[in-house]
Amino acid sequence: MLYSIGKDSGCMLHLARKAFWPAPPPFPLLHIDTRWKFKAMYAHRDKIARENGMNLLIHVNEEARREGVGPFTHGSSYYTDQMKTQALKQALDADGFDVVFGGARRDEEKSRAKERIFSFRSQGHHWDPKTQRPELWNQYNTRIHAGESIRVFPLSNWTELDIWQYIYDEQIPIVPLYLAAERPVVERNGQLIMVDDERFPFAPGERPTMRKIRFRTLGCWPLTAALESEADTLEAVITETLLAKTSERQGRLIDTDQPGSMEKKKQEGYF
C-alpha cells in the first residue's frame, strides 16, 4: 500500500486496519521518498508506522539522488519524473509487487475522474486510458500476466469533504501542516512557498516572512503552495473547505506544468 503521508493515505490505512483487525493488514506500506518532503511529514510517517506496527518500506531513486536531482535545480517536470515516477517503478520492480493500493480520488483531477478502481498497467507500468478494462458492478477482474500490474484506488468515489468527514468522525491523526500556524514563507509567482530547510535558494536580498498558513494538500515542500488561513483546528479547516472557492490541487504546481499534465505523467507510470 502506497503511503504518501497525506490525509488520503491516512484514511486508506485506517480503512485497511479496520478491515483486517484484529490481524494487521497483510501487506507493507511503501513510501516513495523524494528527499524533499516536509520535515513534519517524515516525523508523522515514522510515528504512524511505529504505532500501527506496519512494515514500512522506503524507496529513494539513489542514482538521481547522487546526481543531485532537485526541484530548484532541475525543474519540476524532470524532478517529478526521476524522484517520483521512476522511483515508484524501481520500488515496484525491486520487490515484484503486482498489486499496489493508492489513495487517489476521482474528484481530484480530470484524468483521474476517468480511471478505473482496479486500474491495469502493462509491462513497464504504462497506463493506456483508451483501452481500460470494462468494470461493471463490484466485479473486479484481477487477472494479469507476469510483468503486468494493477493499481487499486479504493477511495475513487470519495470527495475531499468525505475525507475530512472521515478524519473527523474517526479521529485519524494528520500532519500538523494541515492546520494553520505561523510559518516562514516566500512568495513566488503569486504562490506561498514555505521554507522548510536550508536548501531553499533565496534570491539576493530575499527573506522569508512569518505568516499564518496551512496546506490543503501535502507533497514536496518546494512544489506545494500554502494558503493563508486562521483555521488552526480540525473543525475550522473543515469549515473552510466547505466554503472554498478553489480546488485542492490548485496548490500542486506539477499538475499544470504542461497541458494534459497529469494524464501524461500517469501514462508514464506516475501515481
Binding site: 486562521e230 478553489t246 480546488s247
Partner: protein, 626 residues
C-alpha cells in the same frame, strides 16, 4: 476569511452531509447529443466548479472549444487529451456534486458504439439514466442500445432530455414528437418512471431552473427532478443473510475469522449459519466491525465473523443463514452483454468471476440475440461485441447465486478470457436450470479402480497436440504398437477419423473446433474410465480447449504431449497436400496458415521432432509415463 468561530455548526453540517442520500446516475445517448456539455453545465450551475477550474476551462475553451469565445462545458468532463482533441468522449468520467437535498455521483458515458462497454461500466452501478437526444436528429440506434442496456442492468428510472432545443426555436411540436417516439420504444422495458424534459445544454434551459423559452413546458427542470425522484431501493435487509467470504484471517493459531461484506439480510451473534455449497452448519460466535465487537450487522456492512465450530470455509464460499433456501447450481439461464472484439465461442471455457469466486464456465447454448432496435429475438450461435442475448451457462463447480433482479451484487458476474485475461462479457443470473443437489451421479460399484486392477494398467489419456503434418499420427501408431507389445489395452482417437464419424457435423470455425475438442475429450474420458490408455491425436490448436479437456480428468490422468515441428518443415513435407490448398485459398481456417496455433506453455512431454526420431519420441513418452 472564515475564523475558527465558524466551526460551531460543524457537527450539524457534517451530520446533514452524511445523512443526505446519494443518487448515482449516468448520462447516455448517441454521439454529439450533448452529454458532456450537459454535465459540465450542471456542475457549473450547482457551483461545484472551483475558481481555478473555471480559469483552466476558459483557457481550454479557447484552445479546444467548439463554442467560440464562450465556455465549452464539455471540456469539464472530457478529461483525456485524446478526448479534448477529437471533441468526443472515450471513457466514462465520474463527477461529484451536491445540492441542499442530495449528493450526486454522475457518470458521463461515451456515445460511440465502439465504446459501448464503457457506457455499461457506468450504468452498472447507477440508479437513474438521463438519455440525451438531439431534437434535430431524433432517436438513434445508440439511443436504443443504451436504453436497453440501462434496462437490462436494472436501472428503473429514466429521464429523456431532449437537447439542443435552442437550435429549433424551442418548438413544442418537435419536442412532443421525440417524446412520443421514445415513450413508445421504452414501454415494456421495465422502467418505473420516465420524465421527458426539453433542454439546452449550451444555454442552460431547464437544467437547473425552468426556462422562459419553453412556456409550454410545466414539468420540473432536470436538477429539480434529480433532487426529488425516489430511486428504487433494493430490499436487501429483509432477505435471509448472505456473506461471500473475501478473506480468511488467521493472524495466530487462536484466531480464525471470515471477512466480507454482508450482501443481504441481517445477522447477530448466535445466529445459525451454513456454508452454501457444502451445507455444513454452525453458529456465529463473534461479529467484528472495525475495531469493535458488535451484536449484529446488516446488509452493506463489512465485517469479520468468528464461528463456533471449525468447519471448512475458504475464500469464495458463501456463509448464509441456516434457514435460507440457498440457491446453489452449476447450470444457469443467464443474460449476457458481450464486451470483447473476439466473439463468444460456445463450449470454450472462460473464467466466471462473481464476487470473490472464480470458476471455469462455458456457454453451452445461445437461445437468442436481442435486436437492438426492435428487441426481436434472433436465433444465433455466437455473440459479437455490444450484442446481448440469452444463454445457458454451465460452471465446473456448483456455485451460490441470486437472481439479478433480487440482488445486484450476488446476481451479477463477468466472464474473463483465459489466455488474454480480457473481460469479455458481463452477465446476469436469471435462474438455475437444475439444482446441483439433484444431479448426483449414479454411483457404480464396478468403477475405474476395479477395472484398473483387473486390466493391470493405469488408464490415462495421452493428448497429442501439434501442427498438421507434425508427425502426431506416426508417433501415435508407433506408441500404440509398443504398448500393445507390453500387454496394455489401448485405443487411438485420431482427429481425421473422428471427423468422419462422430464429428461429421462440425466444420472449422472457432466454435466448431471447440465443440470438436469437447466431444473428443468426453469420449476419451469415458474410455479412461473404462480402463484404457487412450491416445488422442488432434491438432487442438487452442490452449483454452486443451485446458478444458484437462479439467475433465483426475490429476495425473491427462498427459499433454506437444509434437513440436517447425511450420516450414510441415509445409515442405505436406503429406496430405493440405498446406498447398490452404496457401492457394482453397482451404479456409487452416491451422498455421490463416488460423493460429497456440503452443503449450508447459506440456507434460515436449517432443522436438527436429531432434528426435519417431522411435526416440516413443521412448521419451514411455519414460515420462513411468
Amino acid at each position: 476569511m472564515t475564523t475558527a468561530s465558524g466551526s460551531r455548526d460543524l457537527p450539524t453540517i457534517l451530520n446533514r452531509n452524511a445523512e443526505k442520500g446519494v443518487l448515482r446516475f449516468i448520462t447516455c445517448g448517441s454521439v454529439d447529443d450533448g452529454k458532456s456539455t450537459l454535465i459540465g453545465r450542471l456542475l457549473y450551475e450547482s457551483t461545484n466548479l472551483f475558481d481555478d477550474q473555471l480559469d483552466a476551462l476558459a483557457g481550454e475553451s479557447r484552445r479546444y472549444g467548439t463554442q467560440g469565445e464562450a465556455l465549452d462545458f464539455a471540456l469539464v468532463v472530457d478529461g483525456l487529451e485524446a478526448e479534448r482533441e477529437q471533441g468526443i468522449t472515450i471513457d466514462v468520467a465520474y463527477r461529484f456534486f451536491a445540492t441542499e437535498k442530495r449528493r450526486f455521483i454522475v457518470a458521463d458515458t461515451p456515445g460511440h458504439e465502439q465504446y459501448t462497454r464503457n457506457m455499461a461500466t457506468g450504468a452498472s452501478n447507477a440508479d437513474l439514466a438521463v438519455v440525451l437526444v438531439d431534437v434535430r436528429k431524433g432517436i438513434a440506434v445508440q439511443t436504443r442500445r443504451h436504453t436497453r442496456i440501462a434496462s437490462m442492468l436494472g436501472i428503473r428510472h429514466l429521464v429523456l432530455a431532449v437537447n439542443k432545443m435552442d437550435l429549433i426555436g424551442y418548438d413544442e411540436a418537435r419536442f412532443r414528437s421525440v417524446e412520443a417516439e421514445f415513450s413508445a420504444f421504452a414501454e415494456g422495458l421495465g422502467f418505473l418512471s420516465l420524465q421527458s424534459i426539453p433542454v439546452s445544454g449550451v444555454f442552460g434551459d431547464n437544467i437547473t431552473y425552468g426556462s422562459d423559452a419553453t412556456p409550454w413546458y410545466s414539468g420540473p427542470a432536470l436538477l429539480e427532478y434529480l433532487d426529488t425522484v425516489e430511486p428504487a431501493v433494493e430490499t436487501l435487509k429483509g432477505a435471509p443473510f448472505c456473506m461471500p467470504v473475501q478473506y480468511v484471517s488467521r493472524p495466530n493459531p487462536d484466531f480464525r475469522g471470515y471477512c466480507g461484506r454482508l450482501a443481504a439480510g441481517q445477522l447477530r451473534t448466535g445466529s445459525r449459519v451454513k456454508v452454501a455449497t457444502s451445507g455444513m452448519t454452525t453458529s456465529i460466535r463473534r461479529v467484528i466491525s472495525g475495531f469493535d465487537d458488535v451484536d449484529s450487522a446488516e446488509a452493506g456492512d463489512s465485517i469479520t465473523l468468528v464461528l463456533e465450530d471449525d468447519i471448512d470455509v475458504s475464500r469464495g464460499d458463501a456463509l448464509v443463514s441456516d434457514d435460507s433456501d440457498a440457491a446453489v447450481s452449476d447450470q444457469f439461464q443467464v443474460r449476457l452483454l458481450w464486451l470483447s472484439r473476439a466473439p463468444m465461442i460456445p463450449a470454450r471455457p472462460y473464467i466466471l468471476k462473481t464476487g470473490p469466486r472464480e470458476v471455469a464456465a462455458s456457454v453451452m447454448s445461445l437461445k437468442y440475440v436481442e435486436d437492438v432496435n426492435s428487441g426481436e429475438h434472433i436465433a444465433a450461435n455466437t455473440l459479437s461485441m455490444n450484442e446481448f442475448g440469452l444463454a445457458t451457462l454451465t460452471t465446473a463447480m456448483p456455485i451460490f447465486f441470486k437472481k439479478y433482479a433480487d440482488n445486484r451484487a450476488l446476481g451479477s458476474f463477468i466472464l474473463i478470457d483465459k489466455s488474454s485475461n480480457e473481460t469479455v462479457a458481463a452477465g446476469l443470473f436469471n435462474f438455475s436450470l437444475r439444482r446441483a443437489d439433484n444431479i448426483q451421479m449414479q454411483p457404480l460399484e464396478i468403477n475405474k479402480n476395479a477395472r484398473m486392477i483387473l486390466m493391470r494398467q493405469r488408464p490415462r489419456c495421452l493428448w497429442f497436440t501439434g501442427l498438421s503434418g507434425a508427425g502426431k499420427s506416426t508417433i501415435a501408431n508407433l506408441l500404440e504398437k509398443r504398448l500393445y507389445a507390453q500387454g496394455n489395452f489401448t485405443y487411438i482417437l485420431d482427429g481425421d477419423n473422428i471427423r468422419h464419424g462422430l464429428n461429421r457435423d462440425l466444420g472449422f470455425t472457432e466454435a466448431d473446433r471447440a465443440e470438436n475438442i469437447r466431444r473428443a475429450a468426453e469420449v476419451a474420458k469415458l474410455m479412461v474410465d473404462a480402463g484404457l490408455i487412450v491416445i488422442v491425436s488432434f491438432i487442438s490448436p487452442f490452449r483454452a480447449e486443451r485446458d478444458l479437456a484437462r479439467e475433465k480428468f483426475s490429476p495425473g490422468d491427462f498427459i499433454e504431449v506437444f509434437i513440436d515441428a517447425r511450420l516450414e518443415d510441415c509445409e515442405r513435407r505436406d503429406v496430405k497436400g493440405l498446406y498447398a490448398k490452404a496457401r492457394s485459398g482453397k482451404l479456409k481456417n487452416f491451422t498455421g496458415i490463416d488460423s493460429p496455433y497456440e503452443a503449450p506453455q508447459s506440456p507434460d512431454v515436449h517432443i522436438d521432432t527436429g531432434l528426435l526420431s519417431p522411435d526416440d519420441a516413443v521412448t521419451a513418452i514411455l519414460t515420462a509415463l513411468d
